[in-house]
Symmetry: C2
Subunit: 208 residues, 2 copies
Amino acid sequence: MSEKNISVQTLRRLPIYLHYLNSIKNDRDNISATAISNRFGLNDVQVRKDLGAISGNGKPKTGYSVQELIRDIENFLGCGNPTKAVLVGAGNLGKALLSYGGFNDYGLEIVAAFDSAAQADTINGKPVFSADKLASFCNENKITLGIITVPASQAQSVCDTLVAHGIKAVWNFAPTILRVPDGVIAENENLASSLAVLCQRLNGEGLE
Amino acid sequence: MSEKNISVQTLRRLPIYLHYLNSIKNDRDNISATAISNRFGLNDVQVRKDLGAISGNGKPKTGYSVQELIRDIENFLGCGNPTKAVLVGAGNLGKALLSYGGFNDYGLEIVAAFDSAAQADTINGKPVFSADKLASFCNENKITLGIITVPASQAQSVCDTLVAHGIKAVWNFAPTILRVPDGVIAENENLASSLAVLCQRLNGEGLE
DNA sequence: TAGATTGTTAATCGATTAACAATC
DNA sequence: TAGATTGTTAATCGATTAACAATC
């Protein structure tokens, strides 16, 4: 409400800029919106608007300070105060997400994983508990985000458990759309949708 | 070009409808656009337009035949003639994608996996080869799609190899944006972007 | 000063939603 | 017939792009 209104599309691009800025921060002090737009095949005005929405410290002729921009984006994304999350389902996909250290750069901290047949004590330093501990852990640690990487058949029931124990948002990787009550947010990662777009461009349209 | 023009957003929703229709096909013969829209929290006219774009066989009062709709969507997505793909990088994420059988339902067939340190002969029945076989395999089997699940540091070089050996599209899961030449399509799965949207809704806006 | 670059205002484009006639 | 539902046309909404003035 107090924060400047930012579009979903702009928000989706911010982590991409952030990642790029971090990759160049040792090489240069300043960068122009045009240079960024070229890197990603975007329109330069669009990049300028995106950056203007969260920073607004560009200087004509010079561009933006890479350091400042990184700070402003991290600030906006809340990277300094990460959201604590639990992950349910330590199969291959769950392990992959646990092992990927990069989420910390974007304001997410996975604090524990749960699996009905937990095989390891820790994965990438994060504790893996038996699934029956899930409810009490969420309650006691005031967890607000749940990551669901169980098979589709179990996803809804895991989701219901999470919601019943205080979770306010679920990030669902199971290939199904979850139902959540009002006041709870569900983000469904939809690999099939991305795949459909890709195959259509590949087969339908030739090489345009 | 001959096919009806369909928007990217419509295309993204088709696999979701398809999945749902398959889940109810044994229970009922017909379904209305309104019922589908309620299931996913969409607008009913939107669903009707989506379905009209690929089918157009709805009947007033009755709705759509579930069977027909499944056939029409599968037809449009090209499920009958799947795109053959190779997957590079048989780590946790690679294994997860190889193990998920669902892609076949959406027109994708992963025919082989490659890894620089291949530990298994097969995963989920699909052969895993050493990475040095990648180039010749792509050439000989006229593969057009490559799925990249290697670490970010290796993603671009894997991509370049694929492109050099006839790949026309890459589906990139490494947390980096790949550069591809004109005429080659890159779809970058951007988990950080989805995460940013989710955290923003969770923290920034309260429960709206 | 000249030129590169920002940032804003207006125009365009595409997708969603509303209104409503057609039809089984 | 009455009512549920489709499908189309018009209105709205939001995001992208173009034009251009401001400025370092």
